[in-house]
């Protein structure tokens, strides 16, 4: 069985950061495994410029950051296994891969699960019609495969994903009829919202989907206003003639492999649902199994890069390439980078992460 020092499952912003930090510290035989053909995870779809400060690569477009990180992985000799699925982890050190229609096993001294998230959905009559799709699916079609999935779109969800994807749809030549959100306030940043309203896309809060109609595919969508307890208000229906309904109503951590490893979990709604307990080093309760990025709690690409880097540094320390003092200093830089993304608007994330660690009963 092939032996690696460090295997990263998932080559998005957190996974690549983890692999890069570990390899920089001297860890040998580092590999990133990704089920996609291209590395970068969601960065591939993020054509907007990032927020944050210099440490978060603010001002650079996500898609460019992904390409740059992949180049760095190459320079550091990190192996990349594309189009490869990790379908199981056994004994905390053996990964089962599916690659080229064959299954095989490899062994690793440490494993980082940076598997990202899956999209949430909402149901209403007609939700299974062709033309109803997740925002991530639309981005994959549009930004990766250059296929515009529809011409007239109703966007459901005004979080940053809904707002950004609306903007990208207009850039790609589609028309977005409206953005609706069941909550009484817009979920995403004001600047993202203003970017699309000035293009003529109205945003309606306190509205939800009532029904999607169509013969063989989406032909129209009916929205309805809700009251302060989210009950639909009869008589407030509005019909949009659209061919596509885009669902952008949040994400859930993709953590099957962590369940399989026997990691302890807690339900933390603010982080997207069930998340593995972990230490500040990002190690789960399963020895040698680390977690980072959206798989460890839904936050941002910017925080994913930080948590991935923390995990990579912790692995380097675990394998003896970094002394504990040096590792702590380097990790602290990354923890400091998380702070602005976990205060003010995002105070709830700090509390949620704190609660997770306390609930996990994990000693720091």
């Amino acid at each position: 069985m092939e032996q690696y020092e460090f295997i990263v499952v998932g080559g998005g912003p957190s996974g690549m950061s983890g692999a890069i930090e570990a390899a920089r510290a001297g860890v040998k035989r580092v590999a990133i495994i990704d089920e996609n053909l291209t590395l970068g995870g969601q960065l591939v779809k993020q054509t907007h410029k990032f927020f944050g400060g210099k440490a978060h690569r603010a001002g650079e477009r996500g898609i460019d950051i992904g390409v740059d990180m992949e180049r760095t992985c190459g320079e550091l000799g990190i192996e990349i296994l594309r189009d490869t699925v990790v379908w199981g982890i056994f004994n905390h050190d053996t990964l089962a891969l599916y690659q080229d229609h064959k299954s095989r096993r490899i062994r690793a001294k440490a494993i980082l699960l940076s598997t990202g998230a899956s999209e949430n959905n909402i149901t209403c009559p007609g939700w299974t019609l062709p033309g109803v799709m997740g925002a991530g699916a639309i981005q994959t079609m549009m930004n990766v495969h250059r296929v515009l999935p529809g011409t007239k779109i109703l966007m459901v969800g005004s979080g940053n994903v809904g707002l950004i994807v609306s903007y990208q749809l207009v850039q790609a030549g589609a028309e977005v009829s409206a953005v609706i959100d069941i909550l009484p306030a817009i979920g995403g940043y004001g600047v993202h919202a203003s970017k699309i309203t000035r293009l003529g896309i109205p945003i309606h809060v306190s509205q939800t989907l009532k029904e999607i109609r169509g013969q063989d595919r989406v032909e129209e969508a009916v929205t309805i206003e809700v009251d302060s307890s989210f009950k639909p208000i009869p008589g407030t229906e509005k019909t949009y003639p659209v061919d596509t309904v885009c669902i952008a109503v949040g994400l859930s951590p993709l953590s099957e492999l962590a369940w399989m490893c026997g990691c302890e979990f807690r339900y933390i709604g603010e982080l997207g649902g069930w998340v593995p307990c972990r230490r500040e080093t990002m190690e789960t309760t399963a020895p040698g199994i680390y977690i980072a990025g959206d798989a460890s709690g839904i936050e941002e690409a910017s925080t994913a890069m930080m948590t991935g880097a923390i995990a990579g540094l912790s692995v380097a320390e675990r394998l003896g390439y970094l002394d504990p003092g040096k590792s702590k200093i380097l990790r602290q830089e990354k923890i400091d980078g998380l702070v602005p993304f976990r205060c003010k608007y995002f105070e709830f994330r700090q509390e949620a992460n704190q609660r997770l660690m306390e609930m996990g009963g994990v000693v720091q």
């Binding site: 927020f51 978060h56 603010a58 306030a185 995403g188 203003s194 309203t197 293009l199 608007y345």
Partner: protein
């Protein structure tokens, strides 16, 4: 996740004139009469500071805590416009009320195709995306450092310079 004290912004995505007046990045009427100046429509207390580092005059201050709102020093700002493409939120505009007797120039960040040509007539949209006037393209600027954001200069009737924030080509 936006500033819920600003009701219009947080429920419609549109800043009203009253809401704009509360922002530390919006220059005074006095200053606007004196020539080009940045008009920063940022109300988000999230971590972001590229505008501060981009400004060659040190006219935009955010400080140590990068979740602070950008504060414009309107006397230091000469309207050079470096911040327009640097703002990841596309929230900074340059207004020049002194362009001519009747016209002002609004410089906007633009990321759609086609990019308009010089002297082209375009529809000008307000913050709600409604057409409020026709405008004339004075020039378009897209150096590599702008990372694919084009800055479009539009001449518009002076009384609409505070409203025009986008174009339809």
């Amino acid at each position: 996740m936006t500033n819920t004290e600003l009701v219009s912004l947080s429920t419609r995505g549109v800043l009203t004139p009253e809401e704009l007046r509360t922002l530390p990045g919006v220059p005074s009427d006095e200053r606007m009469k004196r020539g080009p100046v940045a008009y920063i429509e940022c109300a988000d207390i999230f971590p972001c500071n590229p505008c501060e580092s981009a400004c060659p005059k040190g006219a935009i201050r955010i400080g140590e805590d990068i979740t602070n709102l950008p504060v414009l020093d309107e006397d230091k700002c000469d309207g050079c416009g470096t911040c327009v493409a640097a703002c990841p939120g596309l929230a900074i505009f340059i207004l020049d009320m002194t362009y001519s007797e009747t016209e002002a120039v609004v410089r906007i960040p633009y990321e759609l195709l086609p990019v308009p040509e010089k002297d082209q007539e375009v529809s000008c949209l307000n913050r709600e995306g409604k057409i409020v006037t026709q405008g004339r393209i004075v020039k378009t600027v897209k150096p590599k450092a702008y990372r694919k954001t084009v800055v479009v200069w539009i001449a518009v009737p002076k009384d609409l310079a505070l409203d025009v924030r986008s174009i339809r080509v």
